[in-house]
Structures are given as C-alpha cells and as structure tokens.
Subunit: 345 residues, 4 copies
C-alpha cells in the first residue's frame, strides 16, 4: 500500500483527491492537512465522504508528511515551494497540483504569478506531469508538476499536429469554456451562483496565467519552436468541465489522415478518447471521469481545422491526473482508482 | 460471474444500470434491448460509456434474455408484466425497476395506472425490493419490484417510527422535491431546460402514482395499520436528487431517544446514513451514490419532528437499489459495485 | 417627481430597486450610498444599468438623504435603526427593506437578531408594509417595514383563512423553497454556484429569523390569537423565486367555497393572482414581476388543504413590494413602475 | 394605436413578443394564431401573462390578419412564405422572425434549408431588419426579415471594422455560445434539462444555417467583398443569452483608435453599448433587454483583436429586434416598449 499525504485538503481539488483515493486499491490515506480546519473531521466538511474515511485535518508537519510515500499538494500557488523541498528531503515524493513547478523559466513564472519563485533549486527536477507526453520521465520523477486544467485540454488537442511539424508559423486560437469549479472554493462574489448561473462571459482576456504554461507545452511538442497562441477563457454556468475549441488553419489537408494521425497518437493512451470524425463531445460525457475526449472537424472550403477537446477540470484537469501520475511513479496499474464512468445525466 | 440482461436500456435508469454494472466485479453484461435503437452501439447513445462496453441494443428476445442469470427491466410501466413471466419461466430471475409489481393490490394498481394489470398470476411472488425492510425475502426472491424513488426516500425516513408504533392516527405530511431526471428521458416540453431551469413548482398535487406505494410501505411498517399521508411532489431545477421533508407531530418526545432509535435501526445498513442530530443533508452529498442520508430535527415548543431524507433518485431511488437487490439475491457482497463516493462538487 | 434616496445599494435588493426605479414614471433618483464603493458608478458594478443611470455611490449623509422625499434602506439588519431616525427628523419618509422594524415586540427582535434594538423609540410608528393587509395605514405612514420574502409568501397564502376564523388551534406547516439570491450578495462559501447548484437542502430548521415575523402576521390575521407554525426553509438551485407549500387540515371543507373566498379576498389586489383551483404555479411565472400567485388543492379523503404560493423574492418579496408601498404612500398609481411581465422562459 | 397580429404564438419568440407588446404604449394586440392550440387562452399556456391579456389562440385567417397594421411571424422556417404574401396583399405589413426572407440568394436558401423557396416573388422587397445597418430601408419596408440571433451578435461585432475596409482577405473566426432557448420550445431530447444542464458542447460544426446569413451580412458591410468566416456554435447550459467571441488579426493596430471607431459607429444607436476597452460583458447584463454590449481586447504582441458581443437571443436576437423594426416602420419612438433593464441577478 502506498502511504499518501495531502497538503491543503479543503478545496475542490482536495476533496476530489479524497473521492478517488478512498476507493483506490493500493492507497492508504495517512494524513491530510489544513491550518484553518485543524481537528475537524474531513467528512464533516465534505459529507459525501461519510462512511469512507475517518481522517481529520491536521496542521502541516514535514515530519509526519515525510512518513508518506507521496504527498499531494492541493494548495494555492506559492505554498508548495518551501514545503515541497523539505518533504523531498525526507525521501517522500511530491505531486503538486498547484502552478508552483509547472513553468521551468523562473522569470516567466515570477512575472505571471507576481511573486519571487520560492524553490528555484528544485525546479529543474520537476517533471511536467502530462503522461501522454512525459510518461517515462514521470516514472523516475520525485517531484511532479501536475498540469493546469486549461493546459491539459489544449495541449492534448494540439500536440499530435505539432509533433508532426504541422501548424508552423501560424496564430493558433484556443477558445476555452470552463465550469465555475475552476475558480476554486474561495468565498468570492464572482463565484456566487447568483453571479455565474444563467450567464456566460469571457474573463482574463488580457492574459491568463495558464497562457505561458500552454505555450511552453506547445513549444516542446513543436520541437522547441515558439508557438503563437491566442487563448480566451470563458466562465460557463456549470460546476465541472472544460470545453476547448481549438482552431488551426490547414489548407488542402486530408482530414482522414489527420483523424488517423490522432487515433494513432493516442492508441495506447488509457485516458484519451479520439471520437469518430465529426463528433461533438460534451463535457458531461467526462463528468467525474479522468478521460479527455477529442473530435476533429474540417471545413474543406476554407481549410479550417477545428479540434474539440473536453475534460473534467477537477479530474483529468487536476486530481485524476495527479493520481494517474502517482500510479505511474509507483509502477501501479495506470488506471487504478480511475475507472469511474462519467456521471450522465 | 453473473450474466446480466437489461430490457429497455435507453432511459436514464438504463444508462445508470450500465454505469454501475460495467465496473461491477462479479457481473458480465450479456444483452441490452431496445426496439427503437436496434443495432446501435450503447456507447453511441451514451458516450460516457465509450471504452467501457461494446454492447449494442438488440430487439428483446425471451430466449436470449433467458440465458441470463438475471434480467433488469428499465422500462415504462406496463412493459414488464408480460415479458417478465416468460423470462421467469426460463429460470432467470427478474429485477423490475418499473412500477409493475410494486403494488400488491391489483385494483389499486389498475386505478392508479389506468390499465389492466398484465401479470396478476406472478404478482404474489414479487418481493418489494427495499433491502432495509425485506432483506431476507430478497435473498430468496425470483422477482423483485424495485421501489420508486419517492417511496424509497419517504419510507426510510418514517419506518423507524412506525415500526415502534409511534405516529398512530395522525396525518403525516411528506413534502418532496425531485430533480428533473425523475421525469425520464422522454421528449416532453415539461422537461425542457427552458421550462424547468430557474423555476420551482409542485406537480400532481391531486394525486401522484407513488402515493399508494408509499402508503402500502408505511402500513406494512405500522404492522398493517392504515397510515394517512399527504404527499406533495415538487419539480426542482437540478438533474438528480430527491429531498424529502417529512413531518410528524410527537409532543413531549425525547429527541435524543428518537435519534438513538434511528441510529440503532440503521446501524447495520450499508446504505443508510443517520447524520448527527440537527444536520441538513444536501442532495449533492449523495449524487451518484447509493446512500440515503437522514437527519432529525425537533421543535420542542410545538412538538414537531422533522425528518430530512435525501437520495439520488437514479441510484438508491432506482438503479443502485436494483443492483443492491441483485447483490443480495446472488449472495454477493451487498456493496459490490456500489462503493462510489458522491460527486461533490 | 418623487425624489428618492437609497442607502446600501450594492446588494441584490439595491440593484433590484434601481432596475425598477429607473423606469418609474414618477421618480427621480437623487442619491445612492455605499461606504465601501464611494465614488464608483452604479453601472460599473451593475452593467445592466448602463444607459439607465449616471449615479455614483456616495457615503451616507443624513443631510443629503434628507433632501429626498423618501429613502429606501437596502441594508443588512441593524443598519437602519440609527440612520432612519435621523432621516425621519428631516421630514423625509423611510421605507426599510431590512428586518429592523418588522417585529413590534422588542425582546423578540433582540432574541432572534442577537443584538439590542437600536431604535425602539420610533418602532411604534413603523407600519408593516404588506399592502394587502395594511393599505390604509401605509397611506399615512412615515416609516415602512417591508415584509421579508418568506413572510410575504406565507402570509398571503394563509390570511384569507385566518381572517375568517378558520385554522384555529392547529399546527400549520409551511414548507418553503427559496432561490439563492435570498442569501444576498455576500461572499460566502455557502452561496457559491459549486455549493448550491445541482443540490437541494433544508437549512435553519432549528429556527429561522422569519419565523417570528410570520407568526406575528398570522396572529394579526387571526384577530390576535396565537398561531402555531412549523416553518422549514430550503435552499433551491435557482437565482430567484420562493415557492411556499402551505398545509392546513380542514376536514369536510367545501373547496369551491374556499376558492371563492380566496378570489373574493384578493379581487381588488393588483398583485395577487388567485389561479384556478388545482393549478400548479411555478416561480418562473413571477420571475422579475411583483405578482404573488396562489393556488388551492384539496384532498377530500383526508381533509387536507394545500395552498401553493409563489413570488419573486427580490420583487414582491423585497424591492417591488417596497416600491408598491411608496406608490401608496405618495398617492401614485399603485402599479406605477411595476407592470413588468415575468421573464419566461 | 398600431393593430398587431402574431402568427405562431406558442414558441419562445411568440411569448417574448407578447411579454413586450402587452406593455407597449402604442400597440393593440388584435389576434394571435396557433393551429394546434385553437381556443386556448394565451395566459393558460404562458401564466406569466395572466392579468396582461385576454387573447385566445385562433386558427390563422388571412382576412383577420389583414385587419392588422402589422403581422409578426414567429413560426418555423417555411411557414411564412405563403401566408406573408397573402397578408401583404391586404395592405398589412409583415415582420418575419423566421429565416424565410433573410437570404436574398434563393439557391443558397434552398441549399441550407432543404426545401424550395416558397415566395421568391416577394423576396426582393424583403428588408433585412438590422436597424444599425438598414434603418432607412426599414422605415419604408413592408416586409422585414428579422435577423437571426447568432447573425445579430456577430454582425454587430464585426461591421465597424468591415465598413472601414479592415479585415480584408483574412479568415475570421466566430466562436459563439448560445443558451438553450435558441433551440426553441419543441419537445426534443436534446433540449431536456437533463441533457443540456451541467454540460457544454459544440454543435453543427459541419455547418449551421446561420452561416450563409452571417456571411451575407458581413459581405455587405465589406462593400460586397466575400468574407471568409469560420463559425462554431456551442450549446451553453443556460436559458437565454448569446456570447460571441470574435477573432480578427490586425497587427500593429492602435487599439485606442479601434475603440474610438466602435464608439463612433454606435454613438447614436439606442441598443448597442460599446463598453470601456478591456471589459468582459456577461450575457446576464442583457437578459430580458434589447441591448447588444460589445467590448474590445487587443493583444499587442500577437496583433490579435478580440471582440466580445453579448445579446439576449430572444430579445435583440429575435422579438425585441422585431419590435424595434416595428417602431421604426411606424414612426414611433424607436425605444418604445423596449426600455426594460436586464434582470440581474
């Protein structure tokens, strides 16, 4: 059994880790921390867990966390930097769901997150935890940076093309729609039901923190070439789900070949589903599951390729992907604990 | 492995059976029928099942269904009557999620469902599949009538009191709120998002078909005494969930004793959770799970007891409970396939 | 033109006052206050008002407010007490949407609101602003306590019976369902979309602050007799609307007579709609309008009367009713500014 | 008073016409037709209209409709063709909310709508009812084709640029998100709450009927030049609202100039609101109102211009715009009946 600790378990990615881990066949939950809720039973805050765990929140303590085989960070950015290093020193491994280790370029991170990077020393050993790209490195990793939700959905949609050298020198456009859980469990007016329900709007059009992460990933797929991207996120009146509509201009393409290329690229991937050409994946088809579904459309008259990519932002976009990383790191069945079918309706 | 067939798999209880059964450790799905969708892959209609099953819908055929160990009916009322008998004759067992075998009194059934009863001959062997009441009979049953969604939530809330002889001679009031999935997947104007979202209303106040079923169950719990009940269902703007607010007048009661009585009554029940006194269970705490959560409140000044009861209408109120019955009938772990944690948020 | 001031315009009842008043033919908006948002344009916070007003929030100032003919308080409880008295002294009238002057019994108010009453001196002159009961007193009033949302919907449903001396000595039950806007625009975790959407739960079952207000109103209608009431509020996943399901036991009643009694009682009321017997009013039929719709149902076999009552909690349950009071106080057409049809769908 | 008739009043655009017209100061509702609901009171189907109209549905009769000054068609495509001509012959004017007269090229219409055009003879006199473009022609028109919902939001966003000769020879991308009411009030599985709520998906990516209409409008604005457009519509889990995210590549542009150009273009338009640079208009800010709000964003590093455009699809995208046309045609105040503030929250 893998002994697991969770730092910062009171947010949505925290409870989602718990939802999956309490039924994971190879995991034993050892400790979960929250400074503000010390002593409270986890299932008092999250009654869906009643009958599944007796854990209580405790104050984070590197020694206790160090008793674990692996520690998940489900914390706001900036928190994992210091503590992760301490925990790594005990020999435990770290899977960070925050943005703290996603961007390898320190100045870029500091510019977008508006604070000094707290752990540049260990940053080089952080592996970007997108299994479809980095599985081998994940296997050996001791520190994982779990990709963001938007970056996961956008990268999985574009990389089959970029890896083949297509899409050179064009402006890609990613029009992304996210459920409100992406904004977290913080008490903000902007996340109230009365502010978000029955409404649609773009936000952060001037620049969203996931943009540099996406560009870093796309450039890697393109063999290091810079990739120009316009990224517009939208707040959608639902709890879970990201729908990315990805545009690329590929005049005179053979869409059957592109479809075959996508199918081949993801043939062995347990959590990427390339749907039949012309499908319209709905976010509800992945609600609560770790799957990313992709579908291609092609307008022959204009040469426009449209890639539709859906994930559950809390699962493949966060906690499920984190556990997929754990499974790989510890040599477990990669699908262990992650076989749940999406809840539909 | 238990060989399973499903008749009528295109509705919400059908896809919910599939969602649970594809991950059930002891089940092999053998056949699923739909006259209208013959030949269509199940995962084409329900893309959440992609990667989980290769089944196609076929026309119902008693011989093929008879090869199963158990056949679930997820059909509108009136359909199971004839076919169930044929299947029982092959030796297979039947678990009917419709209303066809829930009411033992034929004239009552005919009055409320507006048609002749199609299988009065096998009705006496039908066991009402509420495990918390009938577990022993279920074990031996060959034909199960799975309780309705409202009846499950109301009965579990009242029976601890009725079994103790409390609540005699009073008018009970069950004010129940259901998500829209209770109305099924039929194309009806009244179930459109634009008709049901952002709105709350009562319906069928003059008389709902679940009333006689509830009264039958409450009377059994009261040792055969008639129980007077006012039942008002409401359509709530959400997909899943039933919240029953149950009223009973018990002047001078000792609420700690009542709480203890509930806890004792359900101490060994894997799917009934008696929450601490004064809790407010939310339907989302059971979304996608087979649990019924109960909580008691008492107004000492007026002698009013309020019992709050929540279930997921598609799980404990339908498909989950059906599978719980199957587990009991076949001597499996009663929780097999049903350990999913509710999806929250 | 009536010169109007608004104290505390940043919440939902504040913006709702503005939505109605900017199109009111007899009103000139003079000032709107908010300490926290001083200097901000109102339409910057509420873009639906762009093009309808140039007002800016200012710090509350009794002298400026005193220049108005009437000042609305759309503040949390406790705020209006002190300032209202100052404003009344300038000669302006006050319409308070908070709970500060709703309850005439000071100790009761202090018990439920957990603080000393700040204006017992002017409390006796406060008129409870339910036009259907107090129209004559409202006409002469200088200080109006606008009823709460639940109290409006419950009282309008029960008073035709209570005024006729029916319902004596029984326990009434009001099972009420409210949209989330009833919880206000405060940044609270419990009001987030991800906490309230796709879920139903009761809350404050142990005792809600609207209970004493409702009982005060029902007792007045009953000629001063105490009325026993069980009141259970529920949080419903929608923005606006209250649906009250009201129970009363009236064996051997003639439902046609009761229906006629309701129709007669409200025949001249512009904002109460008694629907045909057996109707199921939906909250969406009053969304954005000042109407309360009522419908009666009777179960002859059990003698149970069920009264369904729906309002928009922000209109007839708050700001619309406040403006209806203003219209009456100033001798305007009672419907002025309030003829909007509900937004459906 | 303008005498008004409505053909096909049982859908969402029909009830929305009624919602606005019952409070229009210059309108008298004369007749509303529905074959299927003949004899039913309009307010029985749409209870929000109780107290606002006594109209009943009647069978369409050209003679009765001919008594009107103007007849609105709120019918599915194909219905208005024949009847419109008859009505025009009586001297009444026609405002058609369907697609029947929107596209001037008959073969294009026939290709996209899959049936022969039923009224090519009167098509040339049809004026495309986008007041911001065609106000003078509308004034003289006897037959108006009210623009579609998507086309309204997309055209208003792009035309200030196209009219100035910008955007030449590039592929424009319109990523549009619509509420479910855009799919109408028909009983379709795909419009059920349980199918659309808590989900996001694209649809009709292969080609949506609004594409040729949008291209026709954009080409007119560009002085007749063909405009290449990729248009991807999405079904969004809300009742009302369209959010169009419009992309254009304009390297080295001066965003202040573009902003000024938009402000100048719409300075005199009562229903187009150019928000401050960098705003994020939300659809809820126009819910129930006839306003289109626009906002510009510019990424200087990539030369990408993003135009955000929101409308209420049932108001500015259908019934409100139809009434705006009527106001212009009859020399009324263009804003008559259309001053409602959006319902927020």
């Amino acid at each position: 059994m893998i002994k697991v600790g969770i730092v910062g378990g009171t947010g949505y990615t925290g409870v989602e880790l718990l939802r999956i881990l309490v039924n994971h066949p190879d995991v034993q939950l050892h400790v979960i921390t929250s400074r503000s809720e010390e002593g409270m039973r986890v299932d008092e805050m999250f009654p869906n867990l009643r009958g599944h765990t007796d854990l209580q929140f405790s104050v984070p303590d590197a020694a206790v966390l160090g008793e674990c085989d692996v520690v998940f960070f489900a914390t706001p950015h900036g928190v994992a930097h210091a503590l992760a290093e301490e925990i790594l020193n005990t020999g435990a491994r770290v899977i960070d769901l925050s943005a703290d280790f996603r961007i390898q370029d320190v100045p870029t991170w500091e510019k977008w997150y508006g604070q000094p990077h707290g752990a540049p020393g260990i940053l080089p050993q952080a592996v970007y935890g997108l299994p479809e790209v980095n599985r081998d490195a994940i296997r050996e990793a001791r520190l994982i940076a779990v990709p963001g939700c938007y970056p996961t959905s956008v990268q999985l949609g574009y990389i089959p093309l970029l890896e083949k050298g297509l899409l050179a020198d064009q402006m890609l456009i990613a029009d992304c729609k996210s459920g409100v859980s992406g904004a977290g469990r913080g008490a903000k007016v902007g996340s109230l039901l009365c502010e978000t329900s029955e409404s649609m709007s773009a936000y952060a059009v001037a620049g969203h923190r996931h943009l540099p992460e996406i560009r870093q990933g796309l450039s890697r797929a393109a063999g290091g070439k810079d990739v120009a991207l316009t990224f517009v996120p939208h707040l959608t009146p639902m709890i879970r789900g990201i729908h990315s509509t990805l545009y690329a201009h590929l005049p005179d393409a053979d869409i059957s070949e592109l479809q075959a290329m996508f199918e081949a690229r993801y043939a062995d991937e347990p959590f990427v589903d390339v749907m039949p050409l012309g499908s319209h994946p709905a976010t509800r088809s992945v609600k609560g599951s770790n799957t990313c579904r992709l579908a291609l459309h092609y307008h022959a008259d204009t040469g426009q390729l449209i890639i539709l990519s859906v994930i559950d932002n809390l699962v493949k976009g966060a906690s499920g992907q984190a556990i997929q990383n754990m499974n790989i790191m510890f040599g477990l069945d990669e699908e262990a604990g992650l076989r749940q079918v999406a809840l539909m309706p």
